[in-house]
Symmetry: C2
Subunit: 272 residues, 2 copies
Amino acid sequence: MEKLKRNERIAAIMKILGDQPNKIFTLNYFTERFFAAKSTISEDIMVVKQSMEKMRLGKIQTISGAAGGVKYIPFVTEEQNKEILENICCYLSQGERILPGGFLYMADVIYSPQKIHQLGEVFTSQFDYREVDYIITVETKGIPLALMVAKAMNLPLVILRRDSKVTEGSTVSINYVSGSTGKIQKMSLSRRAIKPNSKVIIIDDFMKAGGTAKGMVDMMKEFDTQVEAIGVLIGTKEPQEKLVKDYIPLLILEEVKEKEGFINIYPNPELV
Amino acid sequence: MEKLKRNERIAAIMKILGDQPNKIFTLNYFTERFFAAKSTISEDIMVVKQSMEKMRLGKIQTISGAAGGVKYIPFVTEEQNKEILENICCYLSQGERILPGGFLYMADVIYSPQKIHQLGEVFTSQFDYREVDYIITVETKGIPLALMVAKAMNLPLVILRRDSKVTEGSTVSINYVSGSTGKIQKMSLSRRAIKPNSKVIIIDDFMKAGGTAKGMVDMMKEFDTQVEAIGVLIGTKEPQEKLVKDYIPLLILEEVKEKEGFINIYPNPELV
């Protein structure tokens, strides 16, 4: 392989770090990959670090010691939050999204890779995930968002199923009550999915009464696992008292007027 | 904002391009963001391009003309395919994955953000997606992989549901026959999800007889939509005759010996 110039090495280091957020790369990894001295690579990394800071594109952290190295940490400032979240609200408040019963059609937004990539980084900037082991969600609509959060935090994703499947092996199933409809529902999870005594963050697309989130919290108890935080893309303003405490909504849905085609949704004021 | 040095600008340009593969950024976008002249930005982009080529980290394409600009295209060489796919096979052939009935537990692999990010780029390198409008999958296990493919190709993801939901609005539902069990199943899709006369690529995690893929193909006919390609992570060797033609499996599962705890899975020889 051809030896790279400093400029080119910097671009390649940025690409490698940016592709795998929160993964630690050793200096040796780079010295071997670029046939360059440690001191050279260290200087390159300083340039990348400066660049990310000046442009507010995230953080570069160097870790010293035997297990040391360097990693890229996504970070979104309050100002950037505001821009990202207002942009999403702009999409979600289009009147034609209103469905019979006052539901909102959101699939095009919550399945858009670019939009949820940004939302994943917003979540990443809200939580202390340094000791977290897994990102948890339940099928179906929250999966893309939860995956993007998991990618940004470099954590495995665990998906709770509505039914137990032959491809899950032995499972734990629980019943839970949907807070808004009062209907009894089921969720299940493979026994292998989570190591006991883990710490998790729960991510979902929508929370009204919080019944589904409460179900996920209950499921985590079955795995002797601690829920460190709960994040949802949209939380409804009413009911204000949810079945779970301490959750972070990125957006707050205050009102949907079906007849008038009016949707009042805005960024969580605590984040912007 | 502080003005950046050339090295720092190169790192930032790489980060911005790499974060949104296949999205075209105009030169003006960069000149405004960096307070730099067009000629300066063009030189920076040349460095990034050289770096990606020399390190085989993908391609940088510059598009001239009024709608012109620059974009990053993920690209994985055959040699890199081999490494990525062999690594996945190594995980998937662990005997303890075998479940009753000869099924494989794969959730930890197919929900791993880092692993499927790489697999998404492998798919991206196999398909001509320049005229494709959507990536299609069906819930649940294929969603993370399909999302990563959609992100790499900069295309919206569409998820077919097993049941129609109130949050989907008016839907089209079809019945299809699972090729391996002969059971009749249902899938549904919101009428708003796909514009007529679109082109799509179907992505799923697993194909045995191809009944589910056939169901997705039939659903696309209901939307006057053309299926350009079908990609699955794992295709079983038997039955060799699937219900759909022209599908690309990344891995081939030849045999699972439940008693012996033996799994024979290998990269599709046509890709490595």
